[in-house]
Amino acid sequence: MYTYIVESEINNKKYEADLTKIENRLIELEIRGRVEKLTILKSLAETIKDAVRNQSETIVLIGTDKLINNAISTLAEFKTTIGIIPLGEPTLIAQSLGIPYGMEACDTLSARITSALDLGRVNNRYFLSALHVPDCRTLTLDCDNQFQVSTVTPSTIDISNFSEASNPHDGKLEVIVRPQAEKSIFGFMKKPSYSKKSVFPFKKLTIRSGGDSMPIMADGETIIKTPATIEVVPKRIKIIVGKKRDF
């Protein structure tokens, strides 16, 4: 049985036509199921747990990256297959997984190409795509208790599971260190540019900042502060992917 969870921001008039098209296509493909529309009063974690209790084999998330990021910690606790129908903005995770936008994603669901993907874990929270540490002066990264990386110039840090050079089923995450280019007189006119990045694959990483604690962000929200330990959890979730995936 399929359970479809619709993000609260998507559940409005702007996306009504898209949702109707999706519903009709799911009926045509004979993969319709129970639809749960999230509201302020309806918790995502409880909705997922209810779906699992009702023996739902596939939980499909309809919405943006925010919904996926919020759902992943709960979904990681179960062996249910995960599907995605991207709707709204941003939908970069679905893009990386090769899932087309809107109604076309129904055909990807129906084709049911599944892939077991690694997840990242920071404290007890899981993440699927990436974490971000904004501009920081001095940082030390302890990788796999083998070597230490120190930043020489102010840099930003991204911890990535699948983007750029990463592979989401190699049993490793990647930390990408991007130095911030020196600012010139006309620097305010330009976007900050990054050059000479460093990339290190790892299984376990501890981030320490020299002075004050730095925020570690996922999807624009601070989820923890440094010092923090991040580790990979190999092949933790089974997800339906598209043919045009990045990996």
């Binding site: 084709a111 599944t114 070597f147 120190s150 020489v152 050079a165 990339v199």
Partner: protein, 128 residues
């Protein structure tokens, strides 16, 4: 019918890049290619290739398949495949490789062992 792509064959090889803005200390052991443009101190071992750029400063023993050297290294290099040393390179240490190319201008201070073939001198017949 569902199609399954085998997960055991990763489509992308993860690469390690030590950029010019970082300093790495410790024992680095990897499986992919390693590109060094910054500072490294310790040891470096990989099954794939290592490229040491012109601005790189390395104080480490290195073991890899092919090694491209354009920067400064204080330590021994063991290349199981090829070792290419460019004119900008400076190496203080021993090298062990099966194939070696050195450009004019490179600085090398150390012993060199070629591992591909053991040199067997041909028998020289006495000239009567």
């Amino acid at each position: 019918m569902a199609m399954f792509k085998p997960d055991s064959t990763p489509s992308k090889q993860t690469e390690t890049i030590i950029g010019s803005s970082v300093k790495v200390e410790g024992n680095f052991s990897g499986e992919g290619n390693v590109i060094i443009e910054g500072q490294l101190q310790g040891t470096l071992k990989t099954k794939h290739n290592v490229s040491i750029g012109t601005g790189a400063r390395v104080k480490a023993n290195i073991e890899a398949q092919d090694v491209y050297l354009a920067g400064e290294v204080h330590g021994n290099i063991k290349a199981n495949g090829k070792l290419q040393v460019t004119s900008s390179a400076k190496l203080i240490g021993n090298i062990e490789t099966s194939s070696l190319a050195i450009e004019p201008g490179a600085i090398l201070n150390g012993k060199c062992i070629m591992t591909s073939e053991t040199y067997i001198p041909e028998k020289i017949e006495k000239v009567k």
